[in-house]
Symmetry: C2
Subunit: 284 residues, 2 copies
């Protein structure tokens, strides 16, 4: 059977109303489709997650998700990342299931939290402080100080990210995560309907190319900075996370705890630094 | 022990850089804290979810989440919604765990999908089509036609929503979901760091006040329209979902399947209608 592989954009009929006049037409939408991530480890199959995502960079998304969740810790653990080839599934579904096969068995204790996504609470309590402590328990350590950040480099990043967003241009509806050197050169950008997916895709790309940890790099995201995005930034080792919008309280707490420079409201002529401001070069 | 109840906003020190000049100051952030939702049913306790949320309307969030997930189907099933009073937990945690006690036992089959959040895939396959079919299997039915929508009423909604966003004003960092009559009168608004939480809070408010289904009402969300937001709109029975930004492909598919009018890019002088345009009054 010919496989109908979903693309990153989808055309759909739409009525456009402008100045009171309705016209039938067609719009380009960001594709949203479920992706199931399966872990094949020690002869067992674990269906660890289903995420709604924009097709594209699916292998990076699966690998990055498992890395950011602390299940895959190193590129050497990846034996094979592939689409599912179950004979009984039809074509479209082949491209909505990614198998990540590890070269050795992953400790079951690392997988269990994902299988029961609420299990963290029994172990560590339900509050921001306990959430932060659970990361330390998982091996997360504060970043080293440095390197110094130039204010003018930071200010140029949002425009750079927007220019690199190919799918956003056509749909107006995608989040992006961009990786930059400390000097402001764009290294990679990934897009998705979900901000967390865009970050996972970036992490998977870095993992599969042997680039982790991303020490000395800056991450830029298109939306707000939440706890989850700071956690993913720390997982890949970037020293700075920037967004054009507001951070949440727990995002700031987490960034402070682990010495990540968190920049918000990064806009022409202004920005805020919520944590680790010591990285800002004098003169800014 | 005195309970430190988290509020919807948090003050935090921040460095503000403006025109190259850095000044230490203080910013108001949207609070983000974990909330565990527990279902007490038939003498058993089910920890069904942990969500990162902005404190406030926590009971509505818990009840609305359970309603939107199809676990609680009617107000009469709610016996008691309360904060957790475990003696061994400290004050802050009391306000991060909400118990929802049902008046009778909920079928375990309704709870299982939440306990293993990836379980849908084994039953229905992993693709957009199968995702839509699983909603029909859960009892979701297409909306009735009507009522007619006035273009000028729709165009006024984003400004109305923004004016009602109390927390956004101070933080610049919150999503909102607003409920309006078909004539454009604001009925209720809820805010949260998560768009899905804002919608769950609205659903819980309507459920606890005996207002479901919200037939004849319009929902407006601050961000993009995803599959999840359309699903929650259908769960409460609104006939129209509007956003100022883009919908995803699966959001449009789902809206079409269930006769929901999906409006996107709702901005001064223009908007797009992606599904059920028959509700638009002639002359628009």
């Amino acid at each position: 059977m010919a496989a109908a592989r979903p693309g990153p954009t989808t055309r759909a009929p739409a009525l456009t109303v402008r100045d009171g006049l309705a016209r039938p037409g067609e719009e380009v939408l960001a594709t949203e489709e479920p992706l199931e991530i399966r872990l094949l480890s020690g002869g067992r199959r674990y269906p660890v997650a289903v995420t709604m995502r924009t097709p594209g960079a699916d292998f990076e998304l699966a690998a990055g998700f498992l890395y950011n969740e602390g299940i895959v810790k190193d590129r050497s653990q990846l034996r094979r990342v592939s689409y599912c080839l179950d004979a009984e599934r039809d074509g479209a579904q082949h491209y909505n299931i990614v198998n990540v096969e590890t070269s050795g068995p992953v400790p079951v204790a690392d997988i269990q939290p994902l299988e029961r996504h609420f299990s963290m609470t029994s172990a560590c309590g339900v509050c921001g402080r306990a959430t932060l402590e659970s990361l330390t328990a998982r091996g997360c350590r504060p970043l080293a100080d440095g390197p110094l950040l130039q204010a003018e480099v930071l200010q140029a990043l949002p425009d750079e990210l927007r220019r690199a967003q190919a799918i956003f241009e056509s749909t107006g509806g995608l989040h992006a995560a961009g990786l930059f050197t400390n000097e402001g050169a764009l290294v990679a950008v990934r897009e998705d309907v979900g901000r967390h997916n865009a970050m996972d895709k970036l992490a998977g790309w870095a993992l599969m190319n042997g680039l982790l940890p991303l020490a000395g790099h800056i991450l830029v995201v298109s939306g707000r900075s939440s706890y989850e995005l700071v956690q993913k930034s720390l997982a890949v080792g970037a020293h700075t996370l920037c967004s054009v919008s507001a951070p949440s309280s727990l995002a700031v707490d987490l960034a402070r705890e682990f010495n990540l420079t968190l920049v918000g409201f990064l806009r022409p002529g202004r920005f805020n630094v919520y944590s680790a401001p010591h990285r800002l070069a004098p003169g800014a």
